[in-house]
């Protein structure tokens, strides 16, 4: 019986992930050859962050109808295989440029390389491609996006000003294999080391609110003198704040987040969250698209382009 169940599960997973591989492909290809055709390929559209990104791109396209925009994303942030299929489908749709937020910083490089060989301009946003793999293949894919390490450093430094030397803090990390998660952790560490503040614990909560809530509860029990918790995204900061509230430690422990999602803004207003970082999610895809259009016009492959990150603090958010 169990074996039957497992077989069924495998079959169904296969159907669910591949069953739609041809959907949306039937739309007419390339009638208006004059207009550049730009594809925006994102990670999970179930994530508010990427949804905001998509909405920003569509709003931009509405104001700038001189290019045709195709957007698509995967169901699950880690579904690398499905995203590779998406790139292939976009190639089949006679796209001129691809703006991609890769689900994996290495696994998506081969398919993007193939796209480049067929004459498509590729721009990398959100999650930066792995340098070594790119140089091993002898290619350059320009990255347009925020410096996560710098953003985390900004939030960390602002927090450090509220703390004293030798205070104790903890970090709650995102998915450990994600480039932006690693960069944010490094940025927090930079700021803490500079201010000589001790990081007593650094734990992974996979960007998840409920997991961060459980982990924060355990950390504050183990370290009763903790002064602050730095969270690598706002969802985890929300979970952490809820844990502090339940433990009656909101006064003692400060929390910083990252991303500036709408739910975090309400916590900022209530001063339960000290600061967060806005990396202008709605503009990230737009930056990438404008960059790609520039590449199509000039025919060159420029170097990376850094987009702004801004510190949002409890007092500034109104």
């Amino acid at each position: 019986m169990i074996r039957v169940k497992i077989t069924l599960l495998l079959v169904l997973t296969a159907i669910l992930s591949h069953g739609c591989s041809n959907c949306g492909n039937s739309k007419s290809a390339g009638k208006e050859t004059a207009k550049p055709r730009v594809a925006l390929i994102m990670k999970s559209l179930a994530n508010e962050f990427f949804l905001t990104m998509e909405e920003g791109a569509q709003a931009h396209n509405a104001v700038h109808p001189e290019y045709t925009l195709f957007t698509d994303g995967i169901k699950d942030e880690l579904d690398v295989n499905r995203q590779i299929q998406l790139v292939e489908q976009m190639m089949a749709r006679q796209i001129n440029a691809i703006v991609i937020a890769p689900a994996d910083s290495k696994a998506l490089i081969p398919v993007c390389h193939r796209a480049m060989k067929s004459g498509i301009s590729v721009v990398n946003i959100d999650n930066k491609f792995d340098k070594e793999v790119l140089s091993e293949r002898g290619i350059h894919i320009p990255f347009v996006g925020p410096n996560n390490r710098k953003g985390a450093y900004l939030a960390g430094s602002y927090l450090a000003k509220q703390l004293a030397k030798n205070d104790l803090v903890a970090i709650i990390e995102g998915i450990p294999s994600a480039y932006n998660g690693i960069q944010r952790k490094l940025g927090f560490e930079d700021a803490m080391n500079e201010a000589e503040i001790h990081i007593v614990s650094s734990q992974v909560a996979n960007w998840e609110m409920a997991k961060a809530n459980r982990i924060a509860s355990a950390i504050i029990t183990e370290h009763p003198n903790l002064k602050a918790i730095l969270c690598a995204n706002d969802s985890m900061a929300l979970g952490t704040v809820a844990a502090l509230r339940a433990a009656g430690k909101l006064e003692q422990i400060q929390v910083v987040g990252f991303d500036n999602i709408s739910a975090a803004q309400e916590l900022l207003n209530k001063k339960e969250l000290l600061a967060t970082i806005d990396q202008h999610a709605d503009q990230l895809a737009v930056f990438g698209i404008e960059f790609a259009l520039g590449m199509l016009e000039s025919g060159e492959i420029p170097s990376d382009h850094e987009t702004p990150v801004d510190l949002i603090t409890a007092t500034a958010a109104t």
């Binding site: 019986m1 169990i2 169940k5 069924l8 599960l9 169904l12 669910l16 559209l45 179930a46 994530n47 508010e48 949804l51 450990p176 614990s201 734990q203 992974v204 996979n206 998840e208 609110m209 409920a210 809530n213 459980r214 982990i215 509860s217 355990a218 950390i219 029990t221 183990e222 370290h223 009763p224 969802s235 929300l238 979970g239 809820a242 509230r245 339940a246 433990a247 999602i261 709408s262 739910a263 309400e266 916590l267």
Partner: protein
């Protein structure tokens, strides 16, 4: 006969309880602050949603079914609950009732499909896992909704530092165990899980029982959603991913058989506590994520192996 059964049940509780004590002793000696009242209060206030889901799952596994949709139903229920409070300005109680109703409808759909059309529960609830998650994204437009402090009292501390939600969970465990042990409905569940054909031939309304059990499971998942939202003061469409497997793990650690016909809600409750103690203890030890997963996985497997030996006469 009766005393023998009691003896066996006692041995069951003792075995699990002993495992829990060993775990607690281990963490107490390896970390500075694990063996404190705060840790146990924290754990008690964290597990209510998991306990409530696992209770429903115990019922489903006892009738030899499975429900993979509980995590998604939790997210959908939470989404409806959050929206009812923030956008439609429902009073808390009404929002909770609406949320539970949504969960029961999901569960009833599962139950009717499984009972009436004899479809495999695995497939039906896998479909519901996708559908309810989609519903949660639709309702919330994929955004996290901040509910605010009006729901906080549910997870605030009531008696002896224990939260209202913990007391609710405890109440549900007691009622569920009572239903299992002392009612016709409970007895019929065991009969159905043990041998469906025999149960049918002895006049047990198996379709009715199945539908009722899945409906209950959906309703409990939605009740867990209310508590989950109150704990985080936010409705998150990504909530509850993987909770179905966590619930199944807790139930299995508690010695309920995946083949049906055997199980106890109180043991499930201890199973949930064991998982929570593990997670808290490992965090306090500063163990990294891969180690935590490794250990949790090993504990689940050890529990099943022990169960195999415990079951042999």
């Amino acid at each position: 006969m009766y005393s023998k059964r009691l003896h066996r049940a006692l041995a069951d509780y003792l075995g699990l309880g002993l495992a829990l004590i060993v775990l607690i002793a281990f963490f107490a000696t390896t970390t500075d602050y694990f063996f404190t009242l705060i840790t146990f209060r924290t754990i008690a206030n964290q597990i209510p949603d998991a306990v409530i889901i696992a209770t429903g799952m115990t019922f489903v596994l006892i009738i030899a079914g499975i429900d993979l949709s509980v995590g998604s139903v939790l997210a959908l229920g939470g989404a409806v609950f959050g929206l009812a409070i923030t956008s439609w300005h429902f009073p808390l109680f009404l929002a909770a009732v609406l949320c539970i109703a949504v969960g029961m409808i999901c569960g009833a759909v599962n139950g009717v499909m499984v009972a009436k059309w004899r479809l495999p529960a695995f497939i039906v609830t896998l479909g519901m896992l996708e559908a309810a998650r989609g519903g949660a994204y639709l309702v919330t437009t994929s955004k996290t909704h901040y509910i605010g402090t009006s729901v906080e009292w549910i997870t605030a501390r009531g008696m002896m530092g224990l939260s209202v939600s913990f007391l609710i969970a405890l109440f549900i465990v007691i009622i569920a165990q009572f239903i299992l042990s002392y009612t016709i409905f409970g007895r019929s569940m065991f009969a159905l899980g043990g041998n469906e054909e025999a149960a049918r031939l002895s006049g047990i309304p198996i379709n009715y029982i199945k539908t009722a059990v899945y409906t209950l499971c959906g309703g409990l998942a939605a009740l867990a959603a209310v508590i989950h939202c109150a704990k985080l003061t936010a409705a998150d469409p990504n909530a509850g991913i993987g909770y179905e497997l966590q619930a199944i793990a807790a139930v299995v650690i508690g010695g309920t058989s995946l083949m049906g016909g055997r199980g106890s809600v109180i043991n499930t409750f201890i199973g949930v506590i064991i998982i929570a103690v593990l997670e808290n203890g490992l965090v306090q030890m500063g163990a990294q994520d891969p180690i935590k997963r490794l250990v949790t996985g090993a504990v689940i497997i050890i529990a099943v192996v022990l169960d195999y030996y415990r079951r042999r006469p």
